[in-house]
Amino acid sequence: MKVEVAKKVLNENDRLADELRRRFETHGTLCLNLISSPGAGKTTLLERTLETLDRETRVAVLTGDIQTDNDAARLARFGFPVKQITTGGTCHLDARMIEKALADWRPNELDLLFIENVGNLVCPAGYDLGEAAKIVILSVAEGEEKPLKYPSIFSRARLMVLNKTDLLPYVPFDMERARQNARKVQPGISILEVSCTTGDGLAAWQQWLAAQHPRVRFGVAV
């Protein structure tokens, strides 16, 4: 007897993610899911972002790691609500973890929610967190072939941020090839080049964010 199931493996996660997405839309919260390999600069990009955000913009950060709350401590310095999700071994965040972490925040008081995923280019790609968009961060120290090696995440991201451009004189990274590779797996992907160290390109990142939501504004020019 063959029983047709035709059900997504991550059915339960997807159902919860849809629920979260509806909640974010109802409350006018822009939720962005930041994904990269470990060390590409997710936390630093968030630091640069939080330090220049207008104090009127109501932003919060959920940051995922397998262990430690270092990232939350780094991000909490800017006075916005930050919560660490310690997965204790799990290689990605899932919708249930987001729902739990949001439980004691009032969602209708948030304009912008950043989710900093666990550093990993594979597993986070498959788990919808209810975000409006996935953003993939690739540092130039990692090599321009990454979009072809990890097409799953690059094909689902709305934006690719090429970080650490200040290292370009010291690493063999072909910027044009990186762009071509990302567009091969996803012709419509937006691409920004930034250096969180020197501040180069951060103005364009701010503009991109501001264009996604009318209440996202920046106070200090980079």
């Binding site: 007897m1 029983v3 493996v9 799990t90 990605h92 799953s152 091969k184």
Partner: protein
């Protein structure tokens, strides 16, 4: 990396079907996994074997159907297989094409034997 979690989800589904069909013994599960789903079929097989060994799922085999990336053209509606990341429409040459298949991670069927 997360194949064990996926295997667990598959096991939950099979046990759900066992509850719906009391006395029947599960023998086969069909999965549909897209090429870009980020799931390694061998690791998934291995995870499921480890999970099922010595349990009521010990006799269940996984049948994994791998689904290639397919895009559809926004201009002429042609659907085609994407090989070597070539996403330009082979029928009309348009660049604006959208992925319609290749991200799947689905349980297609569960096969049970009557006792």
């Amino acid at each position: 990396m997360h194949e064990l979690g996926i295997a667990t989800s598959v096991a939950d589904t099979v046990r759900g079907e066992m509850r719906r069909h009391p006395g029947a013994r599960p023998v086969r599960v069909g999965l549909r996994i897209g090429e870009w789903a980020g799931v390694n079929p061998d690791a998934l097989q291995f995870s499921f074997e480890v999970l099922a060994r010595g349990t009521d799922l010990g006799q269940v085999t996984l049948e994994i159907e791998s689904l290639p990336i397919r895009n559809r053209c926004a201009a002429c509606d042609a659907e085609f297989r994407v090989v070597d990341y070539q996403t330009v429409c082979p029928a009309c040459g348009a660049a604006n094409t959208r992925t319609v298949s290749g991200h799947e991670m689905e349980i297609a069927f569960v096969e049970l034997e009557e006792a």
